[in-house]
């Protein structure tokens, strides 16, 4: 043991981090190489035709509307929940609000159609009430409802987390001074909500700009198409590579602009809320307000729960026995499990490397401010969100088609892209535990000479195995439900479960699609549940 040996053990972290960054850079860089190699059309101005402008405008328009429709109700719901910190079923409701985060978009889309669709459960009620015939929710309406379904609960949780940061003394003071609800909102609640507003709205807007599956399944025709769906169509239907290149570059420019604008507000990139289950508020809530709050909470609960219930009901109505017997279904399930498992096993070591490298550099620096490399390791995984899976997929699609059969590359692409996309979330699961453990153990290990394998075996593994398992389950769930990359690369030879669901939808075998969606949803939610369970500390 020499001084050099402990320096080497620190270097190990730096090397792992550099390798992980290089892997991510290769994936993203390869995509851009593919796009640039393909080359934009010679006449760029002509390439920006009316259609493209319309698509770009619609992308922003629907994202803006979706954000409004998610954020404004979320403020009301979060406030109502915060005013009533302990009613029966509150904890259960908060857990329900976390479910959409883990639900594959295609499953939610089917649930929404089963509930609000032309032949959905709600159609009869609406027809009877409105007199006319309910047209269903395809097009802009469908996209907006779907985005609200996903983002209203997310925003509610983030706002509630913000409200939880109000010190108990402020609540005591508010009630001692006899503040009425309006004054409490203006003076106590609004200041923290306003602070959380830009970040939350930014996250929701970003999710809606890059939303693919919901627009693909619920959007109708050229009138309701976003850039991502247009890229997919340009590659899979029109096979117009130059057009795909322009659309992709437009999408990247758009998301980059949004991210730059939002980074000023400190966007919460992965949208994870840590909510205290219940806390005393020292509030006297009047009868009228309690009634209004109850109504708001009930409406939100129905809005979130109904499509999920519809998924279950219509899924169970499908001929599940026959589906289970179909070879294509079995193959898709196996393919999905293998690819998402591999993807998770790629995502977690990469994430751990970045986390360890960042911490290693942070420990070594004496300066108060982090250097550029540390900041890159810090932000690297989140920056990936700027480049949506469809864009990476499109780049590699164009690059690979010159050399090999693109569809044969499907497994590799699905594993790699989904792994990188899951990294921000895996980092979120691993980093707090790693940093906290490092904070406690770094000097102790150095003082006692515990490093290398001994350190991993005796110190790191016992502390990190739960967060690592959380990251693994989370990454696998995300990857399992994704329809982005497989939509581009899928074929009869390689089909995942979401791809199969989409195919059955496309060929109007709605019952089959509902049954498969139920299976997919159940798989993803079990993984999410496992991730949540593992994520909680045992003590």
């Amino acid at each position: 043991m020499t001084a050099a040996s402990s320096a080497r053990s620190r270097d190990w972290r730096a090397i792992a981090g550099a390798a992980a960054l290089a892997a991510v850079a290769f994936l993203v860089g390869g995509a851009f190489f593919g796009l640039l190699h393909e080359g934009a059309p010679s006449d760029l101005a002509a390439a920006f035709d009316d259609y493209m402008l319309r698509v770009a405008r619609f992308t922003l328009w629907q994202a803006g509307l979706s954000t409004l429709l998610s954020i404004l109700p979320a403020i009301a719901v979060a406030r109502a929940l915060s005013r009533h910190p302990s009613f029966p079923g509150r904890a259960w409701l908060l857990r329900l609000f976390a479910v959409p985060l883990g639900l594959p978009a295609i499953v939610a889309a089917l649930g929404l159609l089963a509930f609000y669709g032309r032949a959905g459960f709600a159609a009869d009620v609406i027809d009877a009430a409105g007199g006319g015939t309910w047209p269903g929710i395809y097009g802009l309406t469908g996209i907006l409802v779907a985005h609200a379904f996903f983002n209203l609960p997310l925003a509610t949780r983030l706002f509630l987390e913000a409200l939880d940061t109000v010190p108990a003394d402020h609540w005591r003071l508010a009630s001692q001074l006899g503040m009425r609800p309006a004054a409490t909102f203006r003076l106590v609640e609004w200041p923290v909500l306003r602070a959380a507003l830009p970040g939350t709205a930014g996250l929701v807007f970003m999710l809606c700009v890059t939303s693919f599956t919901l627009v693909l399944t619920l959007g109708g025709g050229p009138g309701a198409t976003t850039l991502e769906v247009a890229i997919y169509q340009a590659l899979r239907f029109d096979f117009d590579p130059p057009r795909a290149v322009v659309l992709t570059l437009l999408q990247v420019a758009l998301t980059a602009a949004v991210v730059v604008a939002l980074s000023r507000f400190g966007m919460a990139v992965t949208g994870e809320a840590a909510i205290a289950v219940s806390r005393r508020r020292y509030l006297g809530v009047g009868r009228a307000e309690a009634f209004a709050n109850g109504l708001i909470i009930l409406l939100a609960a129905v809005f979130v729960l109904a499509p999920m219930a519809a998924t279950v009901v219509s899924g169970l109505a499908a001929d599940l026995g026959r589906l289970a017997g179909e070879a294509s279904v079995r193959r898709a399930v196996a393919t999905s499990l293998v690819l998402s498992g591999l993807s998770a096993f790629v995502a977690v070591p990469l994430s751990l490397s970045l986390v360890a490298a960042r911490r290693g550099i942070q420990l070594r620096r004496r300066a108060v401010r982090p250097g550029p490399y540390e900041r890159l390791l810090d932000a690297g995984p989140s920056l990936v969100l700027v480049v949506p899976p469809i864009v990476i997929g499109a780049g590699w699609f164009l690059l690979l088609r010159r050399g090999i059969d693109v569809f044969a590359a499907a497994p590799v692409m699905v594993v790699a892209v989904n792994a990188v996309m899951a990294m921000p979330f895996a980092v979120r699961a691993i980093r707090p535990a790693y940093d906290a453990a490092s904070e406690r153990h770094e000097r102790l290990c150095a003082g006692l000479g515990i490093h290398g394998w001994n350190r991993f075996r005796l110190v790191d593994w016992p502390v990190l195995r739960r967060p690592l398992a959380t990251g693994l389950a989370f990454a696998m769930a995300l990857s399992l439900g994704d329809l982005g990359v497989i939509a581009l690369f899928g074929s009869d030879a390689v089909q995942t479960l979401p791809y199969l669901v989409y195919q059955r939808m496309g060929s109007y075998r709605t019952a089959d699609a509902a049954g498969l969606a139920l299976l997919l949803g159940a798989l993803c939610l079990s993984l999410m549940l496992a991730a949540d369970r593992l994520g909680r500390t045992p003590e």
Binding site: M1, T2, A3, S5, S6, A7, D169, R366, A367, V368, E439, R440, H441, R443, L444, A446, G447, L448, G449, I450, H451, W453, N454, R457, L458, V459, P462, V463, E539
Partner: protein
């Protein structure tokens, strides 16, 4: 106090010397230490918050590397050595133990960083635990112990590591007065048995008065006064130290009000 015989009792003259050591956390926080601690004696390191007490200990332990200068233990230059290779053990204010390992394993790590322990090693782990008053608690987890007991485990590990220098970075600060005195007496006992050279950071004058032979007084990243504890606490200490003591007593008295839990 006879320095020479004490040093010999330790089998090795393990005085600590910081030879024109400079160190900085940034442009505004540069420190400069040129001082020494007698072998086989307890030296209290005192001074206001942010004066560099912990940094001084971290430099000796090897957790921080000097920008210039040398650190010597028993006349040997240890500046280039990794923390685990220095003839030094350090006990921190907290986090001295791995929460997921038993008391015996936590002590055993002091013998083998891979926890490969022979029967004789286990025997010496048990002996050290008995010496620090923890007999029978070998298989407990740290969370099942009191704060004082956890620091006893750390001291038991110091015993099995058998390094001539012991650095204490306020390890008893969060204990009550009676318990703290008990722990200080344990340290003094170990020091006498092993002939340890002890550097002890403390904010409490009574801690220093109870067991320390010498005092190093730090201000603004520099050692501004040194001397025997008898001189310092007998009123013959430098003016800055007396001013600090006044402040310390002042803070002590007002702490009860300022720290009221909210």
């Amino acid at each position: 106090m006879n320095v020479t015989t004490r040093g010999e009792a330790g089998g090795d003259d393990a005085g600590v010397r910081l030879d024109r050591v400079t160190f900085s956390y940034g442009p505004d926080m540069s420190m400069q230490f040129d001082c020494s601690a007698r072998a086989g004696a307890i030296t209290a390191v005192m001074g206001p918050s942010g004066s560099g007490k912990s940094t001084l200990l971290n430099l000796v332990a090897g957790f921080e590397t000097p920008s210039t200068g040398r650190i010597l233990v028993g006349g040997r230059d240890v500046t280039a050595l990794a923390p685990a290779e220095r003839p030094v053990s350090m006990v921190f204010q907290e986090n001295n133990l791995f929460a997921h390992l038993t008391v015996a394993d936590n002590v055993g790590l002091g013998i083998s960083p891979g926890l490969k322990l022979s029967a004789a090693d286990r025997e010496s782990v048990a002996l050290s635990l008995a010496r620090t008053g923890l007999a029978g608690k070998e298989s407990r987890l740290p969370r099942e112990l009191s704060g004082g007991e956890r620091q006893r485990v750390a001291l038991a590990r110091v015993l099995v590591r058998n390094r001539p220098v012991l650095l204490l970075d306020e390890p008893f600060a969060s204990l009550g007065p009676a318990l703290r005195d008990e722990m200080l007496d344990l340290v003094a006992g170990l020091e006498a048995e092993r002939g340890l050279t002890v550097l002890m950071v403390t904010h409490q004058p009574e801690d220093a008065r109870r067991i320390a032979g010498d005092v190093l007084f730090l201000e603004d990243g520099r050692v501004t006064a040194r001397g025997t504890a008898a001189d310092f606490f007998g009123g013959a200490g430098p003016e800055a130290f007396l001013r600090y003591m006044g402040e310390a007593y002042e803070t002590d008295r007002s702490r009860g009000i300022a720290r009221k839990p909210t």
